[in-house]
Symmetry: C2
Subunit: 96 residues, 2 copies
């Protein structure tokens, strides 16, 4: 299977930025330990702090699917899920 890159965007309620941030940050370290995770970076938008962006590189789509079943992913989005007002995910192929 081929490598998969992801840009995932979340926008949360303005009053929930700090809570969302503290929960999303907890995802990073355990996700980087997952099999098939090549890169996993979390960012906050400089102009719109309610927007968080993940940039991810996975060995395959199957590894990403497995990530979404992990305890840390489920736990994080169990809390953050209700704070999200917009969400998008782009599946990409890295050209270089």
């Amino acid at each position: 299977m081929s490598k998969l890159s992801i840009v995932a965007r979340l926008k949360v309620k303005p009053e929930s930025v700090e809570l969302a941030k503290s929960e999303l940050v907890k995802l990073v370290a355990p996700t980087r330990q997952e099999e098939g995770c090549l890169e996993y970076n979390l960012h906050q938008d400089n102009d719109t702090p309610e927007v968080f962006v993940f940039y991810e590189n996975w060995e395959s789509a199957a590894h990403l699917d497995k990530h979404k079943e992990s305890d840390h992913y489920r736990h994080c989005f169990g809390t953050v899920g209700s704070l999200i007002v917009e969400r998008s995910l782009q599946k990409l192929t890295c050209l270089e």
Copy 2:
């Protein structure tokens, strides 16, 4: 100055995808050689091949400004500029 992450999106005309791709790919190697460039990855959207996405990490905003004045950047967008139908750039802070 602090590190800056970028997600830049370009959408080109459907008939110009291959030309745009061949020109954008040429940007990658010389940009990675620039001072202050920490990461510079070019991608194509799996569902919408007219969409290209750059993920970039720079030591500072000043380094990114300098990149936009480089010969390879000007040459690339001299060709690709007229093929673009939509363009967006997000300035981000990496949290981890």
